[in-house]
């Protein structure tokens, strides 16, 4: 496979996955009745709740280990220089925007937990979906954890 093809493989796979997820959400969520499905806001019934949490943590570790394998055995050089452009090119504003959205969602969560008559906290939405669709929740949690583990796993700079 050409170097460009190798670079394209991962984003192309993620694009296919995102199309499937968007289609599933567009088909399922508009007709989803939370009141009928979620009379309470408890965590998913055992074993799904703990299993989802534990498998999510394992997937995070796996994502980190996979990225270590990539660093060890794949031919593209690991980014090791302290002068590699990271923020200068402007593309890192997308992750910054992502973190800003996360901040707003946590703000919304705080308001919802303070007064659930005003908003439903995001926790309740997540637990509702997790109770209603445990296998799908497990799958999405695994994918997110793999991705975050791949990104956030710390690799110290080489000293050689």
């Amino acid at each position: 496979m050409t170097p460009r093809g190798r670079l394209l493989l991962a984003p192309a796979l993620v694009a296919v996955l995102l199309i499937v997820l968007l289609a599933a959400a567009a088909l399922y969520l508009p007709s989803f009745d939370e009141v009928a499905h979620c009379p309470t806001h408890e965590r998913p019934a055992p074993p799904w709740g703990p299993v989802t949490a534990v498998v999510g943590m394992v997937a995070f570790l796996l994502g980190g280990l996979l990225s270590q394998t990539y660093q060890l055995f794949d031919s593209p050089p690991a980014p090791s220089g302290r002068h590699l452009p990271v923020l200068r090119d402007g593309l890192m504003w997308v992750p910054v925007a992502f973190l800003a959205v996360v901040f707003l969602l946590l703000l919304y969560e705080t308001i919802g937990l303070y007064d659930s008559h005003l908003f439903w906290p995001i926790t309740w939405h997540v637990r509702c979906i997790a109770r209603d669709q445990p296998p799908a929740t497990l799958a999405v949690t695994c994918l997110m954890s793999l991705l975050l583990g791949h990104w956030l796993w710390f690799r110290p700079f080489r000293t050689d």
Partner: protein, 72 residues
């Protein structure tokens, strides 16, 4: 308890915000790959190598959210 406002709309908004941001990042990733430049994961991994404490904090937040949502 019944949702005070259109709960489905909030759920859709949350899902759409995450998926659309991921889709946008993915499109940029494809564009970078076509140009033969370093993809997003390399840039983010490099950034975490420069800022390990921030990466650790994000990891802890994610772990806390996992436990909060699912652990019983």
């Amino acid at each position: 308890m019944a949702p005070p406002i259109a709960a489905n709309a909030v759920l859709l908004l949350i899902t759409a915000a995450f998926l659309l941001l991921l889709a946008g990042a993915n499109l940029i990733d494809v564009w970078l790959a076509l140009k033969g430049e370093a993809p997003y994961d390399v840039r983010i991994i490099t950034w975490v190598r420069h800022n390990p404490v921030f990466g650790l904090v994000l990891t802890l937040i994610y772990g806390a959210l996992l436990g909060h949502f699912f652990w019983s």
